[in-house]
């Protein structure tokens, strides 16, 4: 005679019973928070000083959700007698997070390191219009940008 086997339905009950006494892994969100990984794509931070209004990000954006306006400004020559230079000034830099799909292409193509990913994620709004972040709001995120993680050798 074959060895007596416990029916599968009861083996399963053993499994659930074991879990009944295990420590629960739940993180109670608003009270406790998980720390996102440094590379997490939470929100895009803008360094307004570094931006040269080259439009590259707006052009490469697959969703067309970046709106940039700027103008050129004559700057006085740095040395007396030197040539007057023009410098592009940023007037408007909006990212519409209602449209953004967090692909990160803009951060990647930026040649002047003006855009960064920050893992911050708590900026939901009740109104879809408020998802449009202006350059002031975007530059506020800058201080939340973490250092890149150490690499696996």
């Amino acid at each position: 005679m074959a060895r007596f086997k416990i029916p599968g339905v009861f083996v399963g009950m053993g499994v659930t019973l074991k879990y009944l006494f295990k420590k629960v892994p739940t993180v109670q969100y608003p009270v406790e928070k998980e720390v996102p990984v440094p590379r997490a794509r939470g929100v895009i931070a803008l360094d307004t000083d570094a931006c040269t209004v080259c439009m590259l990000c707006a052009r490469e954006c697959p969703d067309w959700c970046i709106y940039i306006e700027g103008h050129k400004e004559e700057q006085p020559p740095s040395k007396p007698g030197g040539r007057a230079r023009t410098r592009a000034t940023l007037d408007r830099f909006d990212i519409d997070y209602a449209l953004c799909m967090y692909c990160g292409i803009c951060v990647e193509v930026c040649p002047f390191d003006a855009l960064f990913w920050s893992p911050e994620y708590e900026y939901s709004e009740g109104d879809i219009g408020a998802m449009l972040h202006g350059k002031e709001r975007l530059s506020e995120w800058l201080e939340t940008v973490p250092d890149p993680p150490a690499l696996e050798s």
Binding site: V53, C54, M55, R59, C61, I68, G70, A88, F112
Partner: protein, 199 residues
């Protein structure tokens, strides 16, 4: 078609084997025009030979992978137009068959004139062609004769037009201006040759 360095760098035996396979399948399907660039075997058949070609290949390539149309048009509403100057506007229907032993995969292709875009249905040969043909029907307006249920698959009833035709505009891109039009500064790539490679 241009020969890419990748193909040239392919080991010669592998490429020969591919050529042999392509020739053999072309022979089976009754096609005299075939290519096998980039490891993709593509056999062109005539419209009348569409069904016989599939029937001939069915025993060896029993796996019906997909069927899709292509709209070849010089006047396009979306994307870039094709480069060939002498291109005649037409639809192309492609079906992909494969085997499930050594991994051979063949694409059959047929050209259809725009004013008579009809083709015999594949459903009696490969049952799975049903949905694919329905999709091609609504997306390109190609008529599959003898199809058991040639109604719209994805699009709502009453939808007008055939979205994947090149003449069909992509509305979301029409109503919104491109945010990258204004030129304040020159593109960095033009003034900074170092940025040419990113590695």
């Amino acid at each position: 078609m241009t020969e890419s360095p990748f193909d040239a760098a392919q080991e010669a035996p592998a490429r020969e084997a591919l050529a042999d396979a392509a020739a053999r399948f072309a022979d089976l399907a009754g096609s005299s025009d075939f290519t096998f660039e980039h490891g993709t075997i593509k056999l062109r058949v005539e419209r009348d030979g569409w069904i016989p070609a599939h029937e001939a290949l069915r025993t060896e390539l029993p796996f019906f992978s997909w069927l899709a149309g292509v709209d070849w048009a010089r006047d396009v509403a979306v994307g870039d137009p094709p480069v060939a100057e002498d291109l005649e506007d037409h639809y192309e229907v492609m079906s992909c068959l494969a085997d499930v032993t050594v991994g051979a995969s063949v694409i059959l292709s047929v050209d259809l004139p725009k004013d008579d875009a009809t083709l015999e249905t594949l459903t009696p040969v490969y049952g799975g062609a049903e949905w694919h043909e329905r999709e091609a029907h609504e997306m390109f307006g190609i008529d599959f004769r003898g199809h058991p249920n040639l109604v719209k698959l994805y699009l709502p009833d009453g939808f007008e037009g055939h979205p994947l035709r090149k003449s069909f505009p992509l509305l979301s891109r029409e109503v919104k201006p491109w945010p990258g039009t204004v030129d304040v500064e020159d593109m960095p790539s033009t003034e900074n040759p170092e940025a040419g490679d990113r590695s």
